[in-house]
Symmetry: none
Subunit: 206 residues, 4 copies
DNA sequence: GGCTAAGCGAGACGGTACGTCTTGTCTTTAG
DNA sequence: CTAAAGACAAGACGTACCGTCTCGCTTAGCC
């Protein structure tokens, strides 16, 4: 060509970065995190291994960075719906959570993440802060509004209640202790914020 | 064990078996599951690698079998104390759970197990059935007794309530979303079976 | 056999012995000596490994014992034909030798033997004495008769001449330095005992 | 080298290559070819196993490549002395050959080579062409000069005569059919090119 | 004709080496 | 001058055999 374009190094490096992100995510869902190799990511991304090692410290770091980047882009709003009925709203939230975890690609990816952060505290912190925390905060906010309108006793700690909701779903999903379906989601919500008098036989007797 | 290949087990060397178990557990707590190698286990146990591969299919299988065997031996009774006060009893159970997870060696081992079973469904099933299930069942039994004496509303599903108790603890431990201390254990119990009227603002208002 | 350990041979199972012999020979021609394993011989013969190790000291010992036993059975007489024409007779001998070495199964087996005896002096001795020596002796005997009837100069050492005949054929076969065909066999005989005056230009000039 | 896999050799590390060559040769003479292992070569050379497997296909290939390289360096001239007396000259050649084969380190190495090339045709070809052929060619050249000056009958084929000289020495050495000493070397030369009339009793009678 | 010592088939055992794979660093080469 | 391509040292992988060692079970031969 007559006019050769000047090589823009910053743009090129961005190309490599996103190619690596894409390759990392694709490979993880295709063969599972354990079977992903740095070499495979480099090959798939059309990139030298050194280009990966220059910016990331390990396979884990690459894949999570990719995951976080993807999530951040797709983030959108995390405001929970507020129909005025906190039980109905939370049922919706937990049903969504259950549905997402049931989706195979998601399930695989989340399990890989959960497994991996068990031996990398730094990654763990980042994943929790950037993927999980926003979700929890949204629930806490919704619970606070419920408290304001008297749908939740003032004594209840919204932060604890949020964990009471998320914890069992997470537990059942991760350990497969039972079927993870909408019915379970509803049960958790009902036992936590829905059933009057669950807290004590006395109140039920009232 | 279920995780072993069904060869002729009658000729199996008990000496080798227990040496491998011990080596596997020791190494896992010493260097962490990820850094354990089959070769190291074999060397430490004074055993040929083939003797490991003859009876187990992977590093994971060895370590879990070791863990399960150790737990089975130490099992003893799983009956929860029944002081008549279900809230107090459950506080005790969760405080114990929290304390155990706080113990470094235990923490490491449990995290390794949890991470590993994410990519081995067979192991996952076994771990859940043999390590977790008994614990859950004991809590369910205790809850049922509470129901019989009117400390828990008849409408509550003891199985769900048990997960409401365990789930949040597990979640906070695994993801380190917050401090895992006795206070948190108490909070979970209180919000789940202790606080009258948590279930609804109405009942609290009564 | 000399290569076996002197246990109590009276109880020895003939069935096992011959099954091992057969398996050893078959496997050697099938996959080559290097790829034969004691375990494979045992399996093929339907025999425990210990039964082999009880009577032989190594894979080599088994295969050679098998080979020697087979040869001894098939031995018959080694008398060379004596048509009165020593050149014609030796051409026949060498042509036969060449033809046998050209036969693939034989070629493989002989090469395996030759390779193996390079690192087992005891086996080497036995192979030479029991497989090679009779052949050489037969040639020497024929040469002596030729000498008696004046077809070979009295000064020639029949033992040396025999090696002059066998050596080149063996050399060309083992190292594949050239085509091993009847023409070569004839050439060797002719240059050694056939061509008048090969020995010196003077005699040729006579 | 012909025994290597045709990867991109331009990037190859000369340091690794020669360290491997040296280690291979040293180990072979120290413990014998059979007891040499690729792992030991790698360890001794301070090299990863993969670096060996990247460029050679087997232990044999490494050792021979090392041997060939060493021989090529040390090659020098292969011109045989020409004193005018072909018998004396050839006696010298064969005595040298005998002496070299009698030297223990050499004996071990040559036997190992000879054994090994029995199950690797490619290696066999290379060894013959690069180690043996030059030697044979030198003898053939000397014989041709002898023919020109009438010390060898024109009818004799120098190539065959060369094999008549080398073959028996090789045969006796490899199979240990008898003492390999200078006397034998002389005998072979005398019976082949030295003794007038060995070819026929008639010429002797003249 | 029963006892007993052996040989037997089987195969687990502690080992060694195999040839492959991946890691993270270092080096070459082409654009 | 940079970055792809990929060689390198290291070391674990899971497999194949080694030669030794029990196991029960024939089976031979001496009492």
């Amino acid at each position: 060509m007559a006019t050769t374009r000047p090589v823009d190094a910053s743009r090129r490096s961005g190309r490599a970065r996103s190619a690596i992100h894409r390759a990392a995510l694709d490979l993880t869902t295709e063969v599972g995190f354990t079977n992903v190799t740095v070499e495979a990511i480099a090959a798939r991304a059309g990139v030298g291994k050194q280009t990966i090692y220059r910016w990331w410290s390990s396979k884990g770091a690459v894949v999570f960075d990719a995951l976080l980047a993807a999530n951040e882009n797709a983030a959108g709003t995390l405001d929970l719906p507020d129909t005025g009925d906190v039980v109905a709203d939370l049922r919706g939230v937990l049903r969504t959570m259950v549905a997402e975890l049931a989706e195979p690609a998601n399930d695989r990816l989340q399990r890989a993440v959960t497994a991996e952060i068990q031996h990398d505290r730094a990654l763990a912190g980042e994943v929790v802060e950037r993927l999980l925390r926003p979700q929890v905060d949204a629930i806490v906010a919704r619970l606070r509004r419920a408290q304001e309108v008297g749908q939740l006793p003032p004594a209840a700690d919204p932060a604890i209640v949020a964990e009471l909701l998320i914890g069992p779903v997470f537990h059942r999903w991760l350990l497969r202790t039972g079927p993870l379906d909408p019915a379970f989601a509803d049960s958790v919500v009902d036992h936590t914020v829905g059933t009057p008098g669950l807290g004590s036989a006395d109140s039920a007797a009232v």
